[in-house]
């Protein structure tokens, strides 16, 4: 029991406090910029710190689920020490393929949802494999190829929709999901819209992610290869194979990123109106912020979603809403710094406590 209390206190002192400090610092930094630019600081802080209404809460949960999915796609690659900046392109392709498939209604009823998820994952995976195979066979940096593939994905999706979709207003879109395949959301507040049904995907992926990395042999191999390619090689792990598999998993998760929105509200796909871009990059930042852990990623995704949603109020107080992107960027930086400081403080305290415990005796080695 006291063990539990100790772990909770440790978590509060070394994880939660530094995070809160980092967030406060990021808000203050943004406030300073708002002030320098001559806009009303008071209004900015008031808008950002106000309590979100029911409607906004729902939006925050919905957005957070997509950001978290994207962050998990990035995080699994980070653990393998590869930088999958291509999540953006992978989820565009996943979304596009999934939308075409769902709209076609080949599979009837609720099964269509499951089948679409599979299609989206496979498409995201296939797109990720391009960068992975280039890396493994030709030594092309996965960062460079993925950046280019992001542009190609966007163009390709646009082209496909224009060619095979139908015109709706000013944009082209894919066919709409048949009503029988549209899942019901979670009605949490009676006056507000539902939380998207497929936001549950974020929870499922989180559980799978933690389990895979922490408890399976495969996860161990992945972390080993991420820490040291040479040690991996000498101990029966093929780093190239691990790159391929990790990228495949990452791409599959990326394929899911937009699915909550697709099934929850959009029901069709078309750039730019019926799609939300940029989640891939947000995911990278959130993975960093969350230090590649499930809990951290959920926290980071919620924070980012919160900041974006709150920023909608900024217009009314005369501040550009893009200013929250500064807050988001600074938060990531600050968290990195705050955790480094807290790590040092922790090490120092531990050393002091060792010194106290052993102070009188001079038995050093087996403390």
């Amino acid at each position: 029991m006291s063990q539990l209390v100790r772990r909770v206190t440790q978590m509060v002192t070394y994880s939660i406090v530094p995070t809160l400090v980092a967030i406060a610092a990021a808000l203050l930094a943004t406030a300073a910029i708002v002030w320098i630019s001559g806009a009303p600081v008071g209004g900015f802080l008031e808008a950002m710190l106000s309590v979100p209404g029911q409607r906004d809460l729902v939006i925050i949960v919905n957005q957070a689920s997509m950001i978290a999915l994207s962050a998990f796609a990035a995080a699994i690659c980070f653990r393998m020490n590869i930088f999958n900046i291509g999540v953006e392109g992978q989820y565009i392709i996943g979304a596009c393929a999934g939308a075409f498939f769902a709209g076609s209604g080949i599979v009837p009823g609720p099964l269509n949802i499951l089948a679409t998820l599979v299609v989206a994952m496979l498409a995201g995976m296939a797109w990720a494999m391009i960068a992975a195979v280039l890396n493994v066979t030709r030594g092309v940096s996965e960062v460079i190829s993925a950046i280019m593939l992001n542009y190609v994905a966007l163009t390709l999706a646009g082209y496909l929709v224009k060619t095979y979709g139908s015109k709706s207003g000013y944009t082209f879109t894919t066919g709409t999901i048949p009503p029988s395949s549209q899942p019901l959301g979670f009605g949490i507040f009676s006056g507000a819209p539902d939380v998207w049904a497929l936001s549950i995907l974020a929870v499922i992926v989180a559980v799978g992610y933690s389990f895979l990395l922490g408890w399976t042999r495969f996860g161990f191999d992945l972390r080993t290869a991420g820490e040291s390619r040479t040690a991996a090689l000498a101990n029966g792990i093929n780093p190239k194979k691990m790159v391929l598999i990790t990228m495949a998993i990452s791409g599959a998760i990326a394929g899911l990123v937009w699915m909550p929105s697709f099934f929850g509200s959009t029901h069709t796909f078309g750039i730019p109106e019926y799609f939300q871009r940029g989640l891939g990059f947000t995911g990278l930042a959130v993975a960093l912020l969350g230090r590649n852990t499930s809990l951290g990623i959920f926290f980071g995704a919620t924070l980012f979603a919160f900041l974006s949603t709150q920023s909608n109020r900024l217009q009314s107080v005369g501040v550009g809403r893009d200013v929250v992107e500064i807050t988001q960027g600074v938060v990531v930086l600050m968290v990195v710094i705050a955790f480094e400081i807290s790590r040092r403080v922790k090490a120092r305290r531990e050393q002091e406590s060792v010194a106290r415990e052993l102070g009188a005796t001079s038995e050093g080695v087996r403390a």
Partner: protein, 497 residues
């Protein structure tokens, strides 16, 4: 230059690495620091070089108290260090490696080249500034590291286990270099677990135990036995084989193994070798003559260009590392940091490494943290690994203790074959005896061992049979019961045995 350390203390989580350390390094002397694994030697040197800050105590250089917050400060004060793991960039030339970060001293051009030549000549280093480091052997790289600190004006040179990677002839050369250095007024502080060498080269000896300096010895009068007792309070071990346990059942047979690299260079040439159950076969050779490649080929880390490998009647020539390990091959790699451990994993996670498919570390496709922890604890006990717990990261262990853990891990699960590269590199005399005992006991139960070592006493004392390897060829077969270290050394460098 005289350097004094007074009352130095350093604490890590769960460990007091140094306390009340007092040490005086005289000008123009070779000062040896000895002590068992985890005694705190490397930590002390890192403090002196400014890599780590001391929690307590003072450093006095030529009567002036100094504070080093980084190696730059230490170099400023004339103190330089060569780490056990060299820090040279392979793709750069010697000159480039040396001037890197010291461009202000003599630029990067002719003047710098001249200065490097000058130092090299002065101390008999025999180093060409324009050759690429990748082309140099271990001993030459070490000289480059020493040159590097001398170039920066070091007057005290710290060497952490410099002889662990050298064969006897190279040790002689190094010692001659060190003699030149002290003759010119420099001081040398060096760590070694090889007591003969310590007695041979040192002017002063300080012994550390459990984090503190416990005494000094006079190399003129002290014996190895006395030093060993001061260090660990134990008898000196001798690597002598007990009864002959060699059977005629082969565990490993190599048939005409050849390896040619991408550039067409022959690394292994038509090697035939059989190791039987209960047999230890020693491979003697100067580092870089194909030992590394031989082991990598057997392990499946590299594919042989020609030939076949048979392990207990099964052809394993084309098997992956994992499959080879699953067939019961233990592997003690020569470079523990690159291949033996993941430094930032805890010890229990490192217990799993290399054994990801065998109990008790895993259960089916899942890890078994409980099993791994218990077995890591068993290793810690059986091999006397000094660590606060199984949750400590490998990085926090002293070099010798990392090595002991790796040996313990590779001996678990009753392997049928052990590929041991320098199994006791960096471990103290007490632990060395313990490791030898473990290997002998396993041999009695039928373990076959391929032993590679730079320590000729270990090779002669432990092996049932010796093969000499030179430029990828087996050039001689020797009987360890008859050969002397001298003869073996000659055979290794290509002279007549």
């Amino acid at each position: 230059m005289q350097v004094e350390l007074r009352g130095i203390a350093k604490r890590f989580p769960g460990v007091i690495a140094n306390h009340d350390v007092d040490l005086t390094i005289r000008a123009g002397a070779v000062h040896a620091l000895i002590g068992e694994n985890g005694a705190g030697k490397s930590t002390l040197m890192k403090i002196l070089y400014g890599v780590q800050g001391a929690d307590d105590g003072t450093i006095v250089v030529d009567g002036r108290e100094r504070h080093f917050s980084s190696p730059t400060d230490a170099i400023e004060a004339g103190i330089g260090m060569v780490f056990q793991h060299f820090m040279l960039a392979d793709n750069l030339t010697v000159l480039e490696n040396i001037v890197l970060g010291a461009e202000k001293m003599h630029g990067i051009g002719e003047k710098a080249r001249g200065r490097v030549r000058e130092i090299s000549a002065e101390f008999g280093f025999d180093i060409d500034p324009d050759v690429r480091v990748a082309e140099l052997g271990v001993a030459a790289r070490q000289r480059v590291e020493i040159l590097k600190v001398l170039y920066r004006g070091a007057r005290l040179i710290i060497l952490d286990e410099p002889t662990a990677v050298l064969v006897p002839q190279e040790v002689e050369v190094l010692f001659a270099n060190l003699r030149e250095l002290v003759a010119s007024g420099c001081s040398v502080l060096f760590i070694s677990h090889k007591l003969d060498e310590v007695l041979q080269i040192a002017d002063d000896i300080t012994v550390m135990r459990r984090g503190t300096t416990v005494g000094t010895a006079d190399p003129a009068t002290a014996t190895r036995q006395q030093l060993a007792e001061l260090m660990v309070g134990a008898e000196l071990p001798s690597p002598e084989l007990s009864a002959d346990t060699v059977t005629d059942t082969p565990v490993l047979s190599l048939r005409s193994i050849s390896l040619v690299d991408d550039t067409g260079r022959t690394l292994l040439a038509d090697l035939d070798l059989t190791i039987h159950r209960g047999e230890i076969v020693g491979i003697a050779g100067v580092e870089g003559n194909g030992q590394t490649e031989l082991v990598e080929v057997i392990m499946g880390m590299r594919r042989a260009t020609e030939g076949s490998i048979v392990l207990a009647e099964e052809d394993i020539t084309r098997l992956s590392v994992r499959k080879v390990r699953e067939r019961g091959v233990g592997f003690i790699p020569e470079d523990r940091h690159r291949h033996g451990v993941v430094l930032d994993f805890s010890l229990w996670e490192n217990r799993i490494l290399g054994h990801q498919t065998t109990a008790p570390a895993v259960r089916g496709p899942l890890l078994s943290p409980g099993g791994a922890r218990r077995d890591a604890e068993r290793i810690i006990d059986a091999y006397d690994v000094r660590t606060p717990s199984v949750h400590t990261t490998a990085r926090a262990l002293s070099g010798g203790n990392q090595q002991k853990f790796i040996v313990g891990r590779e001996m678990s699960g009753d392997p049928i074959l052990l590929l041991a590269s320098h199994p006791t590199r960096g471990v103290d005399v007490g632990a060395q005896a313990a490791i030898w005992d473990h290997i002998r006991r396993a041999r009695q139960e039928g373990l076959g061992v391929l032993l590679i070592s730079a320590d000729l006493d270990e090779l002669i004392g432990l092996s049932d049979r010796l093969e000499v390897i030179l430029r990828g060829h087996f050039t001689a077969q020797l009987d360890p019961r008859e050969v002397t270290a001298q003869e073996l050394g000659t055979a290794m460098t290509g002279g007549a045995a």
